[in-house]
Symmetry: C3
Subunit: 471 residues, 3 copies
């Protein structure tokens, strides 16, 4: 049985002199508090502070990184307990699910999931052998026992993880009751929300018509007109700031398209969209126009605007029909930014009050488009490597391709973007180590003095995050 | 004169600790037998077992990697003995051709051709100086003398190379006489065929109409109907399995487009295609539909389906007119997989009985599209770096970009994809070394325990190939 | 205050054995003269040989690499003294500009600008602390004082820099008076021009109609006809060769599109273009046809043809309106070469007399398109990493992605492509070091014998430049 150990030099380059520099850089930032400005943890955890469930319901069933890999090797989602849309039966025994996972653990070799999970096993649960079919039950018992203890409640872990602030993400119709309750509870943990208006902004979102109706009711605005619709968003943004402490919005469109229509054109388009019979091109144009409107609102109310484009969501029709959205079948696509952002940037891009953070799953755009854009426009910053690219090699490619044109200071530090709460420290640690590894190479190759590298490491871990998200 | 030596540590990272790990990993797999599941050797070699020709006809005239490089630097193809379409005269003296090649050998510095050729010179022919104009004749004489010996016949080399199985590739009209004869000969070498139906599947292939007619005759099916045409392919697939031991099909389309037409639509399209007057778009749609039909057949008969898309074939009109196809003028293009494969995958992608292997020449799709697709769909695996990417740097980029999302176990080991028989061991050796080099970095950076890296190296070299190709 | 030192091993890999090889390779080429075959220095400098201005007007105001970075972080261009289109007031005090630059110097960490600037500070001005707000005035005073000395005049620096030849770039209407004067002056410095016909070739260029008119006058050709227009270009090319020593032309189109129209089609298109009312598609087609015409002229007159495609120029409408062209708002786009170049290459690509050098800002095309094209067509060579890619990581990616398919000998050495005269030695030094670093890895990994690496390093630095540009 292989011993499971987290080596103190993990992720640092093997060359001894470079590794020594990386170690020195890392030592000074390893203990900094975690800022998690973009993610998908459940605010109910921090409100209710209930015990987490069993090992399978905590670590496997909700984690599409995990079950997609098993599914790709022929393990049916039913056998992993993923709930069916039709309520049909799936595996109900968490221990059986855990054993299936354990017996396929070799599939994760070389993936970030393996690093995050090993960290959780060692650091949270004190396990010290690599997971396998042979020790699946030992693991299950140990984790199950731990999850019954007070120290494993959400708030205790939040404090143990040294989280200075964490942002969740809510739809525009969310009442933010959990955020309200957290604030009222007297607990000091800083949990804020993010305004994600897609359900009432994207005409192709399920239930868009009703969502817009409800948006109008909540905002007490007449959404039958374009202007009323915009005021409704402005109103909800204000609500998200006041009740949920939001400092940012987030937009997950299929493309990065923006538009700058005349008011008359926008009104006509809105009428089409509201009629429920718009074409795919009209839906795309509406999302495009709304990004520009959101940029205008951001200038007015100071919220940071995040754009996460370029994903073909729910690519697997069979899985979508049986298990619904977000089941590991989202596939990135080639994404243009240069033409797509031009309308928005021509209108607002030179305004230094505007603060847009761009994300991509198309790494080809890093050096070709994103670094030149962020290295010019005062309104643009680059988000960290996202989703599939939130990995050691993904982080290395990001710094190698972005830094020479955009520098470090047009980037915004790390986002964990996760609902896997227990892995959050592991994810931030990977980012810190990879930034130190990159900086160590620059120092070792005499491209940056070491004292400046220390400053950069600190900025990437802490200051740039606070600035970009106004935390 | 520089000594020509194959260093035992070649291709391993220079860092001493990483190199030591790479060495340990490599030692355990270096001697494994060769599985060559996709390639273009001539089955007649193994059937007739005749002596190979002279140094030029063996190593230069048929190798487009070699003559394209000389052509790119102004050496006319005529001077290299490449045959003309019109039968016009070209260089007939193999020694003159060899000298031209030798005097340009510096052009190959830094290319995989140089590595493969040097391996052949040292390991097959025992030469020990770097090839140059000065020693061209020494080389020529030594190789010519060797090629007259029994030990250099195809079957002897096959055994010396420790080839456990090799797949050739034949068109759908091929009678497979050589394969039949090999099996009847009592020789133990395992040589199987692969079903490559492009000539009778791609409406833009020269002679498509006649090829379909002949397909029908061979299969004793009425190819005037869509259903009869499909049955004809089913019949030929069965023939390829029975007579040639085929376990896989292969498809070299300009794009990865797939379609899922209704039977009525498909029938109408087939009628258009058969009429000989279809448009380019109809030809593309027909190929697209046929990939989906081939997937269905694969589910039924268990054959592995290989897709090799994204090449602008015969880009140089002058060379095409004078020398014909496959003369080093094939140029890769940007290739979409996400939209292109959607119809096929929506229909059959979730079926774990289906086994599709995707290849690409567009490395941008590795991390963005292919790894997310293969890391989700049970039917998809990723083929190794192909053609221009079958090189040390190409292999490194493949592992770096694919592994973190798809893992190692959604890949299928190495393909040599070559007709250059003598270089096959060298090509497999490069792949083994580069996989060990990649794994050694993971171990050195404490991302994977060394005992697990040994298991992965073994899987990449042997087990995954056997599984993917059902060898 | 951090000491500013240029380490003798800068940019070499940290691994000691690889670094030692890199050092040995570099030592033999470090002192070779500079060949600068493509750039944007002002021939007036070498003609008039006047003292340069103040530190801000020399190093900041004309350098879009520098001011774009400060602008991206909210520093208005007015505060950096960039002149306004309307002549409105901008910062007039060079010392104030310098202080703003100095206080933002940390933004350049990790960028090539930082390396070039530090080299200039140390090697040209003898400064020995890293620039910061604290020592901004010390810097300013030292540089200002130096710029008043004879040794800092253009010709003295040219000689000190060991420049064997430098090419400037002029529009087709330029009388080349400075080049004429340089030649008449008796000074030995070799300064040649390059024919950049865009202003009288691109229908979307400002003033195109008048430019063509003037072209006809200068060439004494009747440009009302297509044939006369072509003769006018032929005439100006001859003038550029005779008066300015030109050996090359240069073309900066939005795409790499080429066309091969019949004469009748071309005549009709020219008439449309001359009428001033052509569409965007017609303008694109005209540029495409003209590239093919220029290729024909190159075969006839021997000039090297450079293509620099793929930039969305002046992306920021606000900056364009206020400050005009070339203000750091040029953004690269995805660029196709395979289809785009097909018409030209089908016509002339197999002619070894033709010498085309391709540049790209879309690195994805390196391995996928450009290396396969250059590794086949006798007429094609690949230019060095350009603009945003003229950086250590950009150079590394270029060699890693290009070499295995195109080899070294289908590349053409380095271009500095700059108007920042003082940084020219620094830029060439980065390229030499990065080439040696790449070669050292090949040697350390036993992929290339060291004696051959020495030959390659020499070729990349000197011979290939001379050949490609006929210097």
């Amino acid at each position: 049985m292989t011993k499971l150990a987290l080596h103190p030099d993990r992720l640092f380059p093997a060359d001894p002199s470079t590794r020594a520099i990386a170690r020195r850089l890392y030592e000074r930032i390893a203990g900094l508090p975690i800022l998690s400005p973009h993610g998908h943890t459940d605010p109910a955890w921090f409100d209710r502070n209930e015990l987490f469930g069993n090992p399978a319901s905590l670590l496997i069933i909700p984690d599409h990184y995990v079950f997609r890999m098993l599914y790709s090797q022929g393990v049916p989602l039913e056998e992993l307990g993923v709930p069916r849309v039709d309520g049909g039966s799936t595996e109900a025994d968490p221990r059986a699910i855990w054993r299936r996972f354990a017996s396929h653990y070799h599939l994760f070799r070389g993936t970030p999931s393996r690093m995050w999970l090993d960290w959780v096993f060692v650091e949270i649960f004190g396990l010290d052998e690599v997971l396998s079919a042979a020790n699946a039950d030992t693991y299950y018992d140990a984790i199950e026992a731990a999850l019954k203890q007070e120290a494993f409640r959400p708030r205790a872990l939040f404090e143990r993880f040294n989280i200075e602030a964490i942002a969740t993400t809510e739809g525009p119709l969310d009442p933010l009751d959990h955020h309200r309750a957290i604030r009222a509870s007297g607990w000091q943990g800083k949990v804020i929300t993010t305004y994600r208006p897609d359900p009432a902004l994207d005409p192709e979102f399920e239930g868009f018509q009703q969502n817009v109706e409800r948006l109008g009711e909540l905002a007490r605005e007449d959404v039958s007109s374009w202007k009323g619709y915009l005021r409704a968003h402005e109103n909800r943004r204000a609500y998200f700031r006041e009740v949920g402490g939001a400092t940012a919005t987030d937009h997950g469109h299929p493309s990065a398209a923006t538009a700058d229509l005349s008011e008359a054109e926008a009104e006509r388009l809105y009428a089409r969209v509201r009629s429920g019979s718009c074409t795919a091109a009209e839906a795309e144009l509406f999302r495009a126009q709304m990004l520009t409107e959101m940029a205008r609102m951001s200038i007015e109310d100071g919220m940071t605007l995040q754009i996460h484009p370029g994903v073909h969501r729910n690519h697997n029709a069979t899985v979508m029909a049986q298990f619904g959205r977000d089941k590991g079948a989202d596939i990135p696509m080639a994404t243009d930014f240069v033409g797509a952002l031009h309308p928005l940037l021509s209108r607002y891009g030179s305004d230094p009050r505007l603060n847009i953070i761009l994300f991509t799953l198309d790494e080809d755009s890093y050096a070709r488009e994103l670094a030149p854009l962020a290295g010019h426009y005062p309104s643009l910053r680059l988000g960290p490597p996202w989703w599939f690219n939130d990995s050691p090699e993904g982080m290395r490619r990001f710094r190698e391709r972005v830094t020479e044109t955009a520098g470090f200071y047009n980037t915004v530090g790390f986002n964990d973007d996760t609902r896997a709460f227990l892995s959050i420290p592991a994810r931030h640690d990977v980012a810190r180590r990879m930034d130190c590894a990159f900086l160590a190479r620059l120092v070792a190759e005499h491209r940056l003095p070491e004292d400046e590298a220390h400053e950069v490491a600190q900025a990437l871990t802490y200051e740039l995050v606070k600035q970009a998200y106004k935390l």
